[in-house]
Amino acid sequence: MLRLFLAGLAILCACLTANAQEVGLQPILQEHQEIIAKSSRKTIKPAIDAIAASGLPQAQVMLETWAAKDMWMRKADGQFFAGKKAEGRSYELTDFDSGEVVGTFEKSDLKQMKPNSGIRAMIGTALVQFQLMDSSRAKRSAALLSIQRDPDGALLEPLRASIDEEPDADLKAQKQRLERLLSIGYDEDTVARVAAIEDMSDDLGVDVRAALNPLVVTKRKVAAEISMDANIAATLTPGSESLGEAEAYDLLVASDLAAPRVSRDEIRAALSANIDGGRVEGIPVAQLNTDAARARAYAALAEAGVVPALITQADIDAALGAHVFFETYAEPSPEVTAAAEQALQQIELKVGVNQTLDLTLDAISLASIYFLAAIGLAITFGVMGVINMAHGEFIMMGAYTGYVVQQFIPDHTLSIIVAIPMAFAVTFAMGVAMERLVIRWLYARPLETLLATFGISIALQQLAKNIFGTQARPLTAPGWLDGAWVLNDVVSISYIRIAIFVLALIFLGLFLYIMKRTRLGLEMRAVTQNPRMAGSMGINPGRVNMLTFGLGSGIAGIAGVAIGLFAKVTSDLGSDYIVQSFMTVVVGGVGNIWGALAGAGMIGFLQKGIEWMNPSNTLAAQTYMIIFIIIFIQFRPRGIIALKGRAAGD
């Protein structure tokens, strides 16, 4: 109500502008001399309003001077001037209206106006209308920002007035948008507000929701009967789902319409306070170890008038029955609240759609991370049937390689370009060495491969700890990967994730190319399907196995560089991904790159979906995901993309 009144006042003053122009600023200041000199936040308002409403160009300078604590009052006549420190303890005063120097005065003849922060804020608001018309674009933009931060009904008129003369198209659009938003909250005409609400009802901006939400805020109230002038959102029945009985009674108590219940603690305190010779009202203290006994003793005390009586269920029922419970909008106009509700609903729907899109993007990016992590495994586990528990450690080695490269090449872009082939080389070599030294002796014993590679995994992890320490090492992404691609206020995706997605696509292509178009791929497929036959065709199965394993390991190394860019590089980096990687391969179906892709997609989407349903808790999301996977395996034991029949073996 106050705001509305003030807005009206502002307009009233605006009408008087013509008169004020002739008069000048000093008379206005003099009119309010007393309160300006007093500088109290509570009383200053009319003075600032009057100055702002004067519309005088010098008012802006005056207000700025005031806010900067450079305004001085001449004690002799109570006139206000802009003061500038001259020699010694004297100040040079300038008249606001004429802009002329009036003279230099001793400090003792003057009084400095020191507006406190509250007043400065009010001055700032008043200044906005001048700044909105300022010739500097930066100042206008800053003024808009200040309105956005701190919207006020008083600013609506100046804002509207400034739109037509705004030369900058971009700022003009911003001003128009802001005008709509302010209209929603502060226009005194209900029809105009409803129109503004409808105008903005397809806008996704957070600011729109921020403008609309206060309109639909409701407050629970209780009264003997519903008053006719309140904007009622809903009436509530105590004991229903939306308003429990206990809650309803608490509301009554809070509104001083009923006596508070006596809590257990209060009973206890009352009893403790009234122990008399080991007894409370004749009941021995030792017996007061059940709620029933305590209630009896308390009732006795109440009867004696020592304590207020217990509130019984009957009291509660009666009190609840005698009152009506309802929710009211803080906003008095039902038209506005209805329009706001509808607009919010509409926006909500649109936000929902966009959130789904955002979630999908998130899921795709997570899926590409899993795919990257799993693709090497899809080769070693899927194609060769070798389970490599040290796969995660290859990822870790790739990430550390990236870190080491960055120590030598400070340029981030260049270092990443160098790190990728380096990581491949390092892990490829490790993979080949591991295959030659360990794995090839264990092809016939898959479970033992699992354990042997696990041994390598813990050894490598500890080695990394010994070399690099336990603290996380940074692997910094190039500057051009910083930031995010923002579609609107809801949908955005960071460039780094896009880069990882692209990298995953490149690897998919590369893998397909190697398998389908190169000699190595042909030999690889031959050796996987029938090593003896392949051997007799002149293929060296040992060499092919070695290269295949090296390739899978090398890709893990590159994935490590990619993962290191957004995750912390620690010695545990790999083990964070190993189970998910295996899940990806198992769920997708072994022996097939498309399977890994499908698996990564499914796990990525699933995890994001579960996280979305239970946004507070990533741990729970992972738990549920794994349970889902275990159940999924029931129905497709061989994965999404399964080989059938004889090729699948047994």
């Binding site: 080989l643 059938k644 029949g645 004889r646 090729a647």
Partner: protein, 246 residues
């Protein structure tokens, strides 16, 4: 002679390849039957279907007097119903003694609790010894079966099958890798077994089949090409084409 097993109109497809194509096959109680056919004719897949390892896309497999469908039963249930199978490779439990192998196969309770508290009775041990004598492994009872020769393992496996007391025995290439003398013994075992139960022998070796002296079914591309005595089928022009033409 009543029908023990009836397979009718069965087809199986692996990734577009029709391994079994509308196959129908019958065998009665106490009958010896040889199934021959070139590689890829579907002999092993046929056994897989009967024993429940592979589920056919269509068709029926009916078992016994009560005409039970085998298609919905697990491998273990089918085996308990009385169908025994011998694999192409001799698969005995090499880490265990001949006696343990035979005891495991012996027709007894198969439930885990029953097995946990099982203690071989004198009768069981006697049975095992009898079987061992029959397959010529009486002296090897306490040896680990992994130490046996290839032929002995084949016999042990046949012995294990007999111990199961199945009503139908499916034998996949029993004579592969045997010396002529061992073959003879194997033939005797099978012929003997077929006196009390149905026996289906899958075999490549014509001479071995001839010695079995029984009705022969020729499979080709997943269906029955010819059926009858060995002389009858070997004079069949289709059969000659298939065998010589490949």
């Amino acid at each position: 002679m009543s029908t023990l097993l009836e397979v009718s109109g069965v087809s199986v497809t692996f990734d577009g390849f029709r391994a079994i194509n509308n196959l129908s096959f019958q065998i009665g109680n106490a009958e010896l039957r040889a199934v021959i056919g070139p590689n890829g004719a579907g002999k092993t897949t046929f056994m897989d279907i009967v024993t429940g390892k592979t589920r056919p896309d269509e068709g029926r497999v009916i078992w016994g007097e009560k005409s039970v469908s085998l298609l919905r039963m697990s491998e273990a249930k089918i085996a308990q119903a009385g169908i025994g199978r011998k694999f192409q490779k001799p698969t005995v439990f090499e880490d265990q003694t001949v006696q343990e192998n035979l005891l495991m196969a012996l027709k007894n309770k198969r439930g885990w609790l029953g097995v946990l508290f099982f203690h071989p009775s004198a009768g069981d041990l006697e049975n095992v010894e009898e079987l061992a004598t029959e397959i010529g492994l009486k002296d090897e009872l306490t040896r680990k079966s992994g130490e046996l020769s290839h032929g002995q393992k084949q016999w042990l496996e046949i012995g294990m099958l007999l111990a199961q007391e199945p009503r139908l025995l499916l034998v996949d290439e029993p004579a592969a890798g045997m010396t002529p003398k061992e073959r003879e013994h194997t033939t005797d075992l099978l012929v003997q077994a077929a006196k009390t139960r149905a026996v289906v022998v899958v075999e490549h070796d014509m001479e071995f089949v001839r010695r079995l002296n029984c009705k022969v079914t020729v499979l080709h591309e997943g269906s029955v090409l010819a059926e009858g005595s060995l002389d009858h089928v070997t004079s069949n022009q289709n059969v000659i084409d298939v065998y010589l033409g490949r």
